[in-house]
């Protein structure tokens, strides 16, 4: 079977076929009824929506940063500094050794 010829025949068949342009009865009234529930797009309303969404995102980021900062400070306050303790222990031991002399 010659596929090129088959393709050409089928495309020619598709070109001959014109889809109908019949409109269902009173379809425009259905469209208008549906549109009555919506309004044309308002540019300012779009801007407002976008700004509102970005404000919410900014708030979320701010809260996260605040929580992270609070956590770091809390860690600093309660965190055991091993280097400090080690230094203290060494000097204490050295001080005790001095005293024993």
């Amino acid at each position: 079977m010659n596929l090129t010829t088959l393709e050409q025949k089928l495309i020619a068949a598709a070109r001959l076929y014109q889809p109908g342009d019949q409109v269902p009865y009173a379809f425009e009234r259905r469209i208008m009824a549906r549109l009555a529930e919506t309004r044309p797009l308002d540019g300012w309303a779009l801007w407002g929506q976008a700004l509102g969404r970005s404000a919410v995102s900014c708030m979320a980021v701010t809260l996260l940063c605040g929580a992270a900062l609070w956590y770091v400070e809390w860690q600093d306050r309660h965190h055991t500094d091993f280097s400090q303790q080690f230094e203290t222990a060494v000097y204490l031991a050295a001080g005790q050794a001095d005293e024993s002399w």
């Binding site: 079977m1 025949k9 089928l10 889809p19 425009e28 208008m32 549109l35 797009l41």
Partner: protein, 191 residues
């Protein structure tokens, strides 16, 4: 005296929604004809057309008026049809094994005598519809616009918003995809 499209649009944008109805009535046949190229069921066609008008109403303020309203509307219509094809990708027919008797007979006739197989036969139309439903949304859109409606690459680029090189690439891939589907027809029917 009938109002022009520009006058009706201006009235709608000032809040007179009723002025939209003459526009709807005027372009409904063309939109139905376009939607019927991409959907088979009446319910789907009606949904597509309703969606087109809904979007047209919502986006009316973006219509600049530098080209006829019909061009703007047809671009919107094609985008809506493309979205429909993408949403229904999973329903694409993936096999040719269930040909009707008429389609099978037409193919047999073609195999025996290619020149005598009639392009105006209903079976040929059914076959091409089946073939188109097997293609990806991009391929189907390009084949429909380029091969069937015989639009130029430039016109397709304007209608779809794709660049000219992209249309050419998609056309090349679409033709290859169609040939693959046809090869599957021959394989499934005669092997």
């Amino acid at each position: 005296m009938e109002s022009t499209d520009a006058e009706l649009i201006a009235a709608v944008l000032e809040g007179d929604t009723a002025s939209f109805e003459p526009l709807v009535k005027k372009y409904l046949p063309r939109l139905f004809s376009t939607a019927r190229r991409y959907a088979r069921r009446d319910s789907e066609v009606e949904d597509i057309v309703q969606e087109i008008w809904s979007k047209a109403f919502q986006k009316l303020r973006t219509f600049r008026g530098d080209a006829p309203f019909e061009h703007w509307l047809m671009r919107l219509a094609l985008h809506t049809c493309y979205d429909f094809l993408r949403e229904h990708q999973r329903n694409r027919e993936t096999t040719f094994t269930e040909l009707t008797d008429a389609e099978g007979d037409w193919l047999d006739h073609f195999a025996a005598s290619p020149d005598d197989a009639s392009e105006s036969a209903a079976a040929a139309r059914q076959l091409v519809q089946r073939l188109l439903s097997m293609l990806s949304p991009e391929a189907r859109m390009v084949i429909t616009l380029l091969e069937i409606e015989e639009k130029s690459v430039k016109e397709i680029a304007k209608l779809t918003g794709w660049s000219v090189p992209l249309v050419k690439v998609r056309a090349f891939r679409a033709r290859a995809e169609m040939r693959k589907c046809l090869a599957r027809v021959a394989r499934d029917k005669y092997v």
